[in-house]
């Protein structure tokens, strides 16, 4: 096995659900500080690929490496659980439907994992919650329950929750798809801020404008393969593949 040389390295990722092959030999490298966008039509395997990176949907073939460590290595169950929990602490994930813990306030959502896994004191945890919620503009709502927040506010708390673990890598799976149009921007702003801080991010999105404005590189996926990839200026303006062109034509109405 050759040494891993990129920050995130996906090698020949293959994933089947039963007889359905969802990822077909996908390889992808992401460097530290890079922002990679993944676009593609529904069912093309974007979420599956993203979820493979922290092993929520384990691959059926291929390797995932993060910062010199193989994520999906073969270990006995107990050792593997310990290993994967350590890996996941380094990878933040943001879901389409927020998945905030409804029985916890924003503060508790943010502090629960750091307290439990890193042994933070209540005082340190409170400081951390204030810091992270301030960053996403939610400090005023620190003691609100998720049910008392709008969708955009929930998603910002969810981002703060992920950031509180001080991840090396952030994964976003259609973070704004479930939001009312007028709430999308406040979440995009937070993600842009992270981009300015050079957070390494992999962003699954269907917002082409947003992808074009923050991503260093965009991948177009279709039927489990990466059809085409490149800087947004190239991929959106001069796609080389018919499938990419067709997809973009459908998804950028009015534009270009």
């Amino acid at each position: 096995m050759s040494e891993q040389t990129h920050f995130v390295e996906i090698r020949h990722a293959q994933k089947s659900f039963g007889s359905l092959e969802v990822l077909k030999d996908i390889s992808l490298n992401v460097e530290r500080g890079q922002i990679v966008g993944i676009i593609g039509s529904s069912g093309s395997g974007k979420s599956t690929l993203l979820r493979a990176i922290n092993d929520l949907d384990p691959l059926t073939g291929g390797e995932i490496w993060l910062d010199g460590v193989q994520v999906n290595k073969t270990l006995p169950h107990r050792q593997y659980e310990k290993h994967i929990n350590e890996m996941r602490q380094q990878v933040g994930m943001v879901f389409q439907h927020f998945n905030l813990f409804p029985h916890m306030t924003a503060r508790e959502n943010v502090t629960m994992a750091p307290k439990l896994l890193k042994g933070l004191s209540q005082a340190d945890a409170d400081k951390l919650a204030e810091e992270q919620l301030d960053k996403v503009g939610m400090l005023e709502r620190i003691d609100y329950y998720p049910s008392q927040l709008s969708g955009g506010q929930k998603q910002r708390v969810a981002i703060a929750r992920a950031l509180a673990m001080k991840p090396k890598l952030m994964l976003f799976d259609e973070a704004t798809s479930a939001l009312d149009p007028e709430l999308v921007e406040e979440v995009n702003m937070v993600m842009k801020k992270l981009a300015e801080e050079h957070m390494t991010m992999i962003i699954v999105t269907h917002e082409m404008d947003f992808a074009a404005s923050v991503c260093d590189r965009v991948l177009f996926m279709d039927k489990g393969v990466v059809v085409e990839e490149g800087p947004p200026s190239v991929l959106f303006k001069n796609p080389t593949q018919d499938r990419t062109r067709e997809f973009l034509r459908k998804h950028i109405e009015g534009a270009s």
Binding site: V91, F95, L117, S147, Q148, A158
Partner: protein, 215 residues
């Protein structure tokens, strides 16, 4: 209706009502223990445990509680299980209630959106940490009402132990009928006392349910 007779015997019924209450409390505790273990087995990642949990549920929900009690109390001594009537009542009804509670507890746990566990696991929580920090606190809130229904059924099911001569409400009513020949008054008295117990428990469950809801 012989009100005088009812007033005369009701202290004895009250005493019997305490036996019914004690029986209900002990049965509920044992039921909760069996239900928790049963649900844990049914949701286990080991197939053997899942099978045992499912077998427990279908066995005890698929046969009359009275037959289960008779097997335990009358059949028990044949296989070396010697229990007095009260013990047999608690154990028999508790294991039976546990089968129903297994499904209640399991139902509440699987009703929690799977994104909750995923979110917890992505933060780096172990499976068990995700269960007790994220899943159980939410599932517990969902369980209160249906466990209240189980409790209601279980209190009424304690009447069955009259058949193995535990001196609780139903048995007491039957005994006084033997001496007074007034079944209407005696069963009415027992019925009213059951109703009071169930009403109070029902209010308690409703109060708890309100109290645990998330703001």
């Amino acid at each position: 209706m012989d009100i005088d007779l009812m007033l005369k015997v009701y202290p004895f019924f009250l005493e019997a009502a305490w036996v019914t209450i004690l029986l209900s409390v002990l049965t509920a505790i044992l039921g909760l223990i069996c239900g928790t273990l049963g649900a844990a087995a049914r949701l286990s990642r080991f197939a053997v445990l899942r099978f045992l949990g499912a077998a427990y549920v279908s066995l005890f929900r698929g046969t009359p509680a009275l037959i289960q009690l008779f097997i335990l109390y009358f059949g028990g001594p044949q296989i070396g299980i010697q229990l007095d009537a009260f013990e047999a009542g608690v154990i028999g009804l508790g294991i039976n209630a546990g089968a129903y509670m297994t499904e209640t507890i399991r139902g509440a746990i699987i009703a929690i959106d799977k994104g909750q566990r995923e979110a917890a696991r992505t933060l780096g929580l172990s499976s068990w940490q995700a269960t007790y920090k994220v899943i159980l606190p939410q599932a517990a809130r969902l369980m209160v009402r249906p466990l209240g229904v189980n409790l209601n059924m279980l209190i009424k099911a304690t009447a069955l132990v009259a058949a193995i001569a535990v001196v609780e409400l139903t048995y007491t009513a039957q005994r006084y009928i033997g001496s007074t020949y007034k079944p209407f008054e005696m069963f009415l008295l027992a019925g009213v006392l059951y109703m009071i117990i169930i009403y109070v428990v029902g209010r308690g469950v409703a109060w708890l349910d309100r109290k645990v809801q998330i703001t």
